[in-house]
Symmetry: C2
């Protein structure tokens, strides 16, 4: 066997810039594929892991889990993708394939899942490895230079629309017009829904409308919030902030759902009176399954949905991270290898 | 028109025993029916209303919203029930019939609903009135002396099984083995589910098994709770108590639902980490629709499901309320007119 050497950028400590880092991959497993990385998005969780915000980062650490690239090696048992295929890789890099969740097509709920950047190296590199099931084919109709963020940010907000059976007749609000929110607005518009964007940045209103919102509500304005009371079938929170949840719950229609994909610090207070009186629910979800990811890519190709990105060369990764940390990303950053 | 005089028992103040009370009903509306009450259950909300716990009781106040009786008058536009039919009446006594919820068959979510004991008089009486849609036909196969509690306690725990699409392959836990919980255990057992009863009263374990539980877990025992971690698809809370919710959420399987029909005093803390990591939801629901109530009655008749009741004569209503307040009801009290 020839050695597989990976040229990457790694964090060597929580407070250090990323630096070039080479390592060797072990022998390819029979169900694994290696991807030659062309582009890799930057996600908030890359940033959290670089800085060991969650306490389990192991250094040197190679971030990156919004990969677009080409399969350059495939194990003998790999299915559905072959050398030369363009694929995407997101947060999940492997599943047990035999638990009830995997066998039900819910690999995203598998308790043995391998995460692309936890305990292994990610896509800020020329190569990255995964199980074949998590290598999502990317058709030529999708712009590969922009598609990376779909594999994490995109699927995070697409999955709940299928999972929660959101219908085109529903009215849906999106909290936060950022990396995830700007994709949620596009998805929901093409889903056929009436779409409300919540933002506290009035300067983002015109952009939100251009992305697919039918109306924009400033959630700091009590009158605006009161005006939409009882109207929304779903509110999708894409922010990581503690928000005035009771006000949002009042905006829900009977049977409505407050759904978070943002890692809100404090528990969301779910009052029994509101839950029972209006048959509400408060829920959350991780990323979607391989099947849902493929359906999302197909939906994006059909409707010309793509992330709005800013591109940096991999060698400028520290500039990109600084731009990200300053809150300047509009709306998602992509590294070019 | 002949006058319609109702002979009832009413509370005249929050701290007084109920006493005999007569009043006259206005002319019957075209869509209304009058029911000659045969039996009426006692529900916790009757007790709360008698004591003005929610601050909107108007005295004299006639409780009672778990009625079984016979239609004795029907307006000219009443549909589906006629004079002489045996019917049941629960918490809801009227809906607007034209909002999107009513037109969708979700009359229980109508924002204009009339409540049987709010701003009007209930079923601790010889007669009670309602809109025809909320007069649920009760077939002869159902024991009318015991069926009353199905119309409130029963439908409260039956409705979420349909609404949340609970399947026979699911594993479901029930918190609280009382008026609602003892019906939930019976429903879920016949639903085909694996049923776990949560109780802090070990003396209720054998009873819970007899009602349909396949296992009983003492929720105060940390080891027992740890042993069922990640196993339940739904936990149905029937209690009005603040409970150790994080421990219950740990008992949920990926995709699981913590659902309350009990009016828990403090908000249930829904942590984003748990919601997102395991795709959980925290939800609640009111009583079911007319259609769901009819389906419940059919399900009860098919499976011989009935409340376990203790019967008092209406004239002994104060003894019954005292028995209830002492926590001695096993499991639901019914007044005989």
């Amino acid at each position: 066997m020839s050695k597989t050497i990976v040229k990457a950028y790694a964090a060597v400590a929580a407070d250090k810039p990323l630096e070039p880092y080479e390592f060797e991959l072990p022998e390819l497993g029979p169900e694994q594929v290696d991807i030659q990385v062309a582009y890799c998005g930057i996600c908030h969780s890359d940033y959290s892991m670089i800085h060991n915000d969650w306490g389990f980062t192991r250094y040197p650490f190679v971030p990156g889990h919004e990969v677009i690239g080409t399969v350059i090696a495939a194990g003998e048992m790999a299915r559905g993708v072959k050398v030369g295929d363009q694929v995407g890789l997101g947060w999940f890099a492997g599943s047990c394939m035999h638990c009830l969740h995997c066998l039900s097509g819910e690999h995203n709920l598998c308790r043995q899942n391998e995460y692309t950047i936890v305990g292994r190296n990610g896509g800020f590199a020329d190569k990255v490895r995964c199980h074949w099931a998590w290598a999502t084919p990317i058709p030529a109709a999708v712009d590969s230079s922009k598609a990376g963020p779909l594999l994490c940010g995109g699927i995070t907000v697409f999955h709940p629309l299928l999972e929660l059976n959101i219908r085109p007749t529903h009215r849906v609000g999106v909290i936060g017009i950022g990396g995830l929110g700007h994709l949620a607005l596009q998805f929901l518009n093409k889903w056929g829904c009436e779409v409300t964007a919540f933002t506290t940045s009035p300067d983002k209103a015109a952009e939100a409308m251009a992305m697919g919102a039918h109306s924009v509500v400033n959630s700091k304005d009590e009158n605006s919030m009161a005006a939409i009371a009882g109207s929304l079938d779903m509110i999708l929170n894409t922010t990581d902030a503690n928000l005035p949840w009771p006000a949002y719950m009042k905006a829900l229609a009977p049977g409505g759902i407050l759904h978070t994909v943002g890692m809100v610090p404090d528990p969301i207070p779910a009052s029994a009176g509101a839950l029972i009186g209006s048959q509400l629910s408060v829920s959350g979800s991780p990323l979607g399954s391989p099947a849902t990811t493929r359906r999302m890519i197909e939906f994006c190709a059909r409707h010309k949905i793509e992330p709005i990105t800013e591109q940096f060369d991999l060698r400028d990764v520290n500039d990109a991270l600084e731009h990200f940390a300053a809150g300047k990303a509009r709306y998602r950053l992509v590294l070019k290898m």
